[in-house]
Symmetry: C2
Subunit: 392 residues, 2 copies
C-alpha cells in the first residue's frame, strides 16, 4: 500500500469513530495554494474544481477534471469521475446517492492545517448546494484531519525513520568536522552544505536550523548560529533536523569541549547532562495511549526541577511529521498560550519529540531532543538516544 | 525601492482607482499554506494571526505577533504594530481610526489567486467584527489583487528579464549540445540538468518543461519529451522557461534539421515559420493600453488562417509573472472555456506571452513564443524574437 492509500484507508476508520458520514475536500488550482490536507490524501495538484469524497461506509470517490482523471486513477485510492464542464452535477449525484446526514468540510478557526477551504470555494460549494438539504449538514473536519495527521501509518513512520537516520549521520559527520576555534556560523554552514549536497531541506527555516550554541553566552531559542567561537571548557548544543521525502526529523545533541588538562567534563556539566537524560527516560517510560500530554510534560519537568534547576519555559514535546511542529496536541503544561493542546490523549501511531533542557551556569545550555513513537505496548525511540556527552 | 515596497505603493494607487477605502489581508501560520498575495505585499511568512492593512489614503499598517515585529519592520513597507495576546484589539483600533466604508478582503469564486482567505479565518474575522459596523462593509479584493498581480513594477520586470535572459542562454547551449539521433528525452534531460546546476526551477511542472517536439509524430501540448528521435528533414520545437528569483520566463523556439543535400529548409517549412513570425509581429504591433485581449488574439489568429492554416486551438497569449500562467486576462478568443478573460483591456505594465502556432504536415509543429511588455507608448519585446529558423 502506498502512503496515500494507507491514509485514505485510515480516514475511513476515523470517520467511523467520529460518526461523520462523509468527508468532502473541495479544491481547485492547488499549485497556487492548496489545502494542507491534500498531500496526505491525494499527493498531487488538482487544477479544475475537484472533490475528494470519503465516506463512513468506505467509499472513496475523486471528482476531477477529465484531463486529470488518469492521474487520479493512478493514485490508486479513489474511484474516479472525470468531468468536462461542471463539478456540481457529479458532486450532487454523489451526495444524493449517499444522502449523508453529516458532511465534514475543511475549515477550522483553531487549526490552520484543517482550514484549507477558502471562502471563495465555500461560497461556490454553497451555490452548488442551494436547494438541497446538504447545505445545512456541513460541519468542520478539524477532528478528522487532526486524527489523520497525528496517527502515523507504517509508510509515514518509515519516512520519519529515514529522516532521523540521515540526521544522525550528519551529526556524526559534524562532530568529526568541527574543532574548537570555529565559529557557530562555520559549523552551521557545514551542515547547510551537507543538506544541500544530499538534495534535502532543513526541517524548519534554514536560518535557525541548525541552532548551534557554543558556551554560556550564545542565545538559545530559534536564533541562528552567531560569530561566537567554540572554546575549550564549554558546552556545545545543536538543534537540527531534515525534511526528507516530505517527512521531518528534529533532534538535539550535546558535546563538551574539554579544557586543557581535563579528561572528563566538570561535575556541573555532567550532572546537567545526566539530569536531562533522566528527564527524557522518565517521560518516555510513561508515554502510552490514553495518557494526556500534560501528564508527560509534568514528569519530565519534575525531574529537572527536583534536581534543583529552574523549569524550562517551553513544552516538553510536539508532534513530528510532515512538518517539524506537526500540529495537534503537545506534551506541554497548561499555560494559556498552549490553549487546549496539552489536554489531548496520546494515541498509538503518534510521533513526538521529547526535549527538556536546562542551563549550566558558566558552561552553557544542555538540551537533548529524541524522537519517539507511541505504540499500543508503550513508546519506542526512533532516534538513538544520546546518553553520553560527546567529548571534543 | 524593493519589490515589496513598489507593490505596496502600487496597491494604494489601485485602491484609489477602485474606490476601496481599506484592503485587509488576514492570515496566520502561512508556512502551512498561506495567501497567494502575501509574496507580493509582504514577502515573508507570518505566524500568529496577522493583518496587513493598506488604505486609500496611503496608510500601510502591519499588525503581527510581537516576536515577528522586527522582521515586519525590516520589510520597510508598513508601520508595524506588534501584539502580545490578541490581534483583535489593534485591528479594531485601526478600523475605528479609519472608519472605512468599504473593506476589501481576499476571497473570490473566480480567481484562486485572489482567494487566500480561508473559511476559518473569515469566521474569526467575523467574530472580531461582531457588534461593529465593519462586518457589513466587507467586499471582495479580487479586482485589487488582479490589478496588483498583472501590473508589473520595474523590479518585477527586471526579474522577468533575468529569467528570460537565462532561458535564452540555455536555449543557445541546447542548440550547441543537440545532434540528430538524440531522443527528445535526452535533450529534455540536458535542460533539466542545466536548470539544476544553476539552482533554478522550471517555469511549470518539470515533466513537460521543456516540451520537445521532434518531427510530425511528436504529441504537442503539455506532454513531456518522448523516445522519438531527432531526425534530418524535420522540424524541432521547444517550449521552455525557468523560474528565477520568483519570476518566470516562457519561450518557444524552432529549429530545422537539414536533410542530406539541403542547405535551406524546404519551402513549406520556411513558409510556416515565416507565417508564425508575422503573426507575432502583427499582434505585438497592435498591443497597447486599452485594447482588449480578444482583439489581439484575432489579429494573430487571422495571419495564420489567412495564410491557409487551420486556426490554433488555444489562446494567443497569457500573463507572465510569478507564475508562468499568471492569472488575469488573456490574449484569447471568446470561447466559453475562457469565460470573461479575453474581454479585459491591456494596461501598461502587463507582461504577456505571444505564442501562435501551426502544423506543417510531414515536417512537424511550428510554434514560437515571445515575452512582451505593454508600455504607454506601445509594446516591447522582452525576449529577443526569433526571426530565423535555427538550422541544424
Amino acid at each position: 500500500m502506498t502512503l496515500i492509500q494507507e491514509k485514505v484507508q485510515q480516514a475511513i476508520t476515523i470517520l467511523q469513530e467520529q460518526k461523520i458520514d462523509l468527508w468532502l475536500t473541495f479544491v481547485r488550482e492547488t499549485s497556487a495554494g492548496g489545502d494542507p490536507v491534500l498531500p496526505l490524501i491525494y499527493g498531487h495538484d488538482l487544477t479544475w474544481q475537484s472533490a475528494l469524497i470519503i465516506t463512513r461506509t468506505g467509499e472513496r470517490i475523486a471528482i476531477v477534471g477529465r484531463f486529470e482523471a488518469e492521474a487520479a486513477q493512478r493514485v490508486g485510492a479513489y474511484d474516479v469521475i472525470g468531468y468536462d464542464e461542471a463539478v456540481s452535477k457529479p458532486l450532487l449525484d454523489i451526495l444524493r446517492r449517499f444522502d449523508p446526514k453529516v458532511i465534514a468540510i475543511n475549515y477550522s478557526m483553531n487549526d490552520v492545517l484543517a482550514d484549507g477551504l477558502t471562502l471563495g470555494m465555500y461560497q461556490l460549494l454553497n451555490k452548488y448546494l442551494t436547494g438541497t438539504p446538504y447545505a445545512e449538514r456541513l460541519t468542520s473536519a478539524e477532528n478528522i484531519i487532526n486524527a489523520l495527521r497525528t496517527r502515523k501509518t507504517s509508510a509515514e513512520i518509515e519516512r520519519i525513520r529515514t529522516a532521523i537516520h540521515t540526521t544522525e549521520k550528519l551529526y556524526f559527520e559534524t562532530f568529526e568536522f568541527l574543532e574548537p576555534g570555529m565559529t557557530e556560523k562555520r559549523v552551521g554552514a557545514y551542515l547547510h552544505r551537507r543538506v544541500e549536497e544530499l538534495n534535502l531541506t532543513t526541517a524548519w527555516e534554514k536560518e535557525s536550523c541548525p541552532a548551534v550554541n557554543a558556551g554560556p553566552d550564545s542565545p538559545v531559542g530559534h536564533a541562528g548560529p552567531t560569530e561566537i567561537v567554540i572554546q575549550p571548557g564549554q558546552l556545545l548544543h545543536f538543534d537540527f533536523g531534515v525534511q526528507q521525502d516530505e517527512y521531518c526529523s528534529d533532534i538535539q545533541r550535546m558535546a563538551y569541549v574539554l579544557a586543557p588538562g581535563e579528561t572528563t567534563p566538570p561535575e556541573p556539566v555532567q550532572r546537567g547532562f545526566d539530569t536531562v537524560v533522566r528527564a527524557i527516560q522518565a517521560a518516555v517510560r510513561a508515554m502510552k495511549p490514553g495518557v494526556l500530554g500534560v501528564e508527560i510534560d509534568a514528569i519530565a519537568r519534575k525531574v529537572i526541577t527536583d534536581a534543583g534547576y529552574p523549569e524550562y519555559k517551553y513544552a516538553t514535546g510536539h508532534h513530528l511529521g510532515r512538518l517539524c511542529h506537526d500540529g495537534g496536541g503537545i506534551l506541554g503544561p497548561r499555560w494559556e498560550r498552549y490553549g487546549d493542546t496539552p489536554n489531548r490523549p496520546l494515541e498509538a501511531g503518534h510521533v513526538y519529540t521529547v526535549e527538556p533542557g536546562l542551563m549550566v551556569p558558566g558552561y552553557g545550555y544542555v538540551g537533548l531532543e529524541e524522537d519517539v513513537l507511541v505504540t499500543e505496548d508503550g513508546t519506542i525511540f526512533l532516534s538513538t538516544p544520546q546518553t553520553d556527552l560527546i567529548l571534543l
